[in-house]
Amino acid sequence: MFKLIFLKELRDIIQSSRFTISFAVCSVLIILAFVMGAQNYLASKAQYDAAIQENRNQIAANTEWMMVEHSIMLPPQPLMTLVNGVSNDIGRNISMSGRGELRSENTRFNDEPIFAVFRFMDLEFIFGIILSLFAIIFAYDAINGEKNRGTLKLCFANPVSRAGYIGGKLAGSFVGLSVALLIPILIGCALLPVLGVQLSADEWLRLALILIAGIAYFGVFLAIAITISASTVKPSNAFLIGLVVWIFAVLIIPRTSVLISGRIVDVPNVDEITAQKNRYRSQLFDEDRPKMSNFQLPEGTEMEDAMGVFQSFMSDLSEARQEKVDIFNARLNEDYTNKKRQQERLALSLSRISPTSAFTLAATELAGTSLTLQNHFMDAAYTYQESYADFMNEKTGSNRSSGFRMVMITTDDTGEEPDPLDPDELPQFTFESQDVASASQAGMVDLSLLILFNLIFFGGAFRAFLNYDLR
């Protein structure tokens, strides 16, 4: 019996013009999202490679490691362009120094505001906004439409149980529509390598999980629509209610939760913190000034060594300052980061009332473009900073310089041209996304939440239909 209804449901979906049109639109959109994601990735990659090359050229033009201005960049990743998350909103470049705080700069949207005007069309957008709307369009009259057509009566003139009927209906629409979605998804996936985007096994796994989350999310809206359809008499009313639910889930709840958490947890002004740090730094410098003014070369220093002695004196001072600054900054940062985390956690927890947020969070978490991307990038940069400092120390002898630099211009011409630098000697900056295990662990919360939503609304549809007036 279940099987029969299940198969009928499949056939009904496939033979309807509503399905044909929506399926065509969804397919175009999904494939477009993959193609545009791939193109966007390739374009970002070209930009990234060009910038890296330019950075190398610029380094190679130097003759002294001490003079090098090195900067590292967040490499674009295919998953970032498929699920944007915050990747367009965080600084991608960090100018490297051997010590001190690092700052990421040049967000994509700030560099190219044109993309901020209409934004990108990624999988998160397609699933989160469009496919959820289509789920409602597909299923808003699943029950009450059959009632209006009289087929519900005719079905139940036979020995059919309500549970079997609604079960077949739910399973049929879910399987029918998600299989339909799988076709363009698979085409899209197959297009990635064709377009020149190579994914690692790890990334394929993440992508698969993202798509599973997407289909689970689609299922939630399908079940919501069927529940509504089994609780109303007129299909047009069911569509309106579905639309209102969609607007709340997609537009209102996520944003309002940010507003509420902002009201509850007060995060200090970033600029205030930056200014405090700057002031402290310049205050320390002022304190060191008398020491510098009073600097005397130790008795009997050879002229050739004088410069070295002076530099190490300055370096020691700046090292000592830096230590104090680091402690000061760490204290300020900790307070700020704690408050900010608290605010974020609250906002995210609140927003999870909406399946759309749960999906967004699961997808971004799995793609490595969630809120943690920023921290992750900075952590990688600080790790790199150590090896960079060691390298510079080895090359220039000054301990993690940047405290003070002095170049001597001598009047005696040796006639020798110094050799240009080889940028390959620099340690490589590598950025690895969070490993798939911890990413999927983080994403799993939201993925299970989505599955829970599914169960709740499937249950809701059951409950509503068991009490449905069949007449």
């Binding site: 374009a43 330019e54 600084g91 209409f118 967004t360």
Partner: protein, 488 residues
């Protein structure tokens, strides 16, 4: 006759559940968006004022002209409550100094990535996405729905002209959708007053224009709905078609346009430009030090054959001239670097402008893009926001540098500290007179770039006109289609 038809249409709408649903949803959405907008705006203003204060204090604490740093901040604009545009994506602060070029960085979204995950929903967004959807919902069955009910036949069994009928239909639906919208819109204007948002007359004019534009945009979708309803037989088909049009127009075409332009006109990334600038800077300074070495060798050469005392006397005589010469060539280097930086930036800017123009032309295939572009222009949060600020900050930077140099010259000497290294006296550090307090009262003040109302309106006029044009066109189309409609 017209009024009878109009009354029937209004009665029909007002008693329908979709009217109630629309009214409630729109009211909630518009009021929440304006409330959130005011909240964001107030935060931005508080931050802006705090930052201004910080910058002022930092200047006040500087003890030598060479150490005066200035930070300029982008001033929040109250109309962004309605159209946030690129406000959250564009940097809001730039440092002004001799060493760095002007560059807005730290966009609000990069500081608070949470906002980047759940984007701001502003009035323009609601109009663009939600209200257009409701406009379709109100009109998709305007004609074919009546046919399906059989009421169309019944109505035309009387002496009713088709044009009159369509006009009454359109007016009725228009009034039925626009009036419930005006209520939350007016309430949100009251909200602005209640929160004492400082709005100038120009701002009010912008807001009113924006509301007018939004109504035009909603009208456009209503007319499209009637058009599709008048060329299809069944309301379920017209509903589907309209949804496809809506998704394509609102969600897809604008994005496609931008991405296509991004593909067609590749633009160098800022990182790449900065690296190029850095390379030039390095090369120029290297050239400078080579030149300086030559200059010193020449000076050395002039002293050839002199005794030690003669040398000292010669040096003392020439020291000031030499210093000035060296300083002049140093300034030349800086000027060269700035010129080159700006040239590179300008090239990139020009290319970006080409890309933007192309993107917007493609995007305007969908009138939705016209609405958004015009709305952002009216609010002053358009894509030019960044370059507008950076240009005015650059102009300010020149004034500021000039002022600092002048002050340094007046104060006799440069900022920072001076290290002399001499074979006789060894190494000396001279910080100059560092404990002086600076009188910054005549320091040039930065004026945020003000867009005159006529400038913003002029810039948005094209999109305004275009939207109006397609609306009229679509209306004409629906009249034409309805005159030939098979009433059976």
């Amino acid at each position: 006759m017209f009024s009878l038809l109009l009354q029937k249409e209004l009665k029909n709408i007002i008693t329908s559940p979709k009217f109630t649903a629309t009214f409630l949803v729109c009211s909630v959405l518009i009021l929440i968006s304006v409330f959130v907008g005011i909240n964001e705006y107030e935060n931005a203003v508080a931050q802006y004022q705090a930052n201004q204060e910080i910058a002022r204090q930092d200047i006040a604490q500087a003890t030598s002209w060479g150490r005066v740093r200035n930070l300029l901040h982008r001033e929040p604009n109250p109309v962004q409550i309605f159209v946030s545009g690129v406000h959250f994506d564009v940097g809001r602060v730039s440092s002004i100094s001799d060493y760095n070029d002007v560059k807005l960085s730290r966009s609000p979204n990069s500081d608070e990535t949470l906002f980047a995950i759940f984007r701001v929903i502003d009035f323009a967004f609601i109009v663009q996405i939600v209200l257009s959807l409701f406009a379709i919902l109100f009109t998709y069955d305007a004609i074919n729905g009546e046919r399906e009910q059989g009421t169309l036949k019944l109505a035309f069994a009387n002496s009713v002209s088709r044009a009159q009928y369509l006009l009454a239909k359109f007016s009725g639906i228009w009034l039925g959708l626009i009036f419930p919208l005006l209520i939350p819109i007016l309430l949100s204007l009251l909200l602005l007053l209640a929160f004492n948002v400082p709005l100038t007359t120009g701002d009010w004019m912008s807001i009113v224009t924006l509301i007018g534009l939004s109504i035009l945009y909603i009208t456009f979708f209503m007319v499209i709905g009637i058009l599709v309803s008048a060329i299809t037989r069944s309301s379920s088909l017209s509903f589907l078609l309209l949804l496809v049009i809506w998704i394509g127009g609102v969600l897809i075409i604008p994005r496609l346009g931008v991405m296509a332009a991004g593909q067609l006109v590749p633009v160098e990334s800022v990182a790449q430009i900065e690296a190029k600038q850095e390379a030039f800077r390095k090369a120029r300074w290297d050239q400078y030090s080579a030149e300086l070495t030559n200059v010193w060798q020449e000076r050395e050469a002039q002293m050839n054959g002199m005794t030690e005392d003669e040398r000292r006397a010669f040096r003392d005589d020439n020291e000031w001239t030499w210093l000035e010469e060296d300083d002049a060539s140093r300034k030349l280097v800086q000027a060269d670097i700035i010129t080159n930086n700006r040239r590179l930036l300008e090239e990139a800017q020009n290319r970006k402008k080409v890309q933007e123009q192309l993107a917007f032309i493609i995007a305007r295939i969908s009138p939705v893009a016209s609405y958004q572009l015009a709305a952002m222009k009216i609010a002053g949060t358009d894509v030019e926001l960044k370059s507008r600020y950076e240009e005015s900050m650059r102009a300010y930077k020149d004034d500021f540098s000039e002022y600092i140099q002048q002050k340094e010259a007046e104060g006799g000497g440069h900022g920072g500290f001076n290290i002399t290294f001499d074979s006789e006296q060894g190494l000396n550090i001279d910080f100059g007179r560092n404990d002086q307090t600076l009188d910054t009262s005549d320091m040039p003040q930065y004026q945020t770039p003000e867009l005159s109302l006529s400038a913003t309106l002029g810039a948005s006029l094209f999109d305004f006109g275009f939207l109006g044009f397609v609306t009229v066109l679509a209306f004409g189309g629906s009249v034409f289609a309805f005159l030939r409609y098979d009433l059976r």
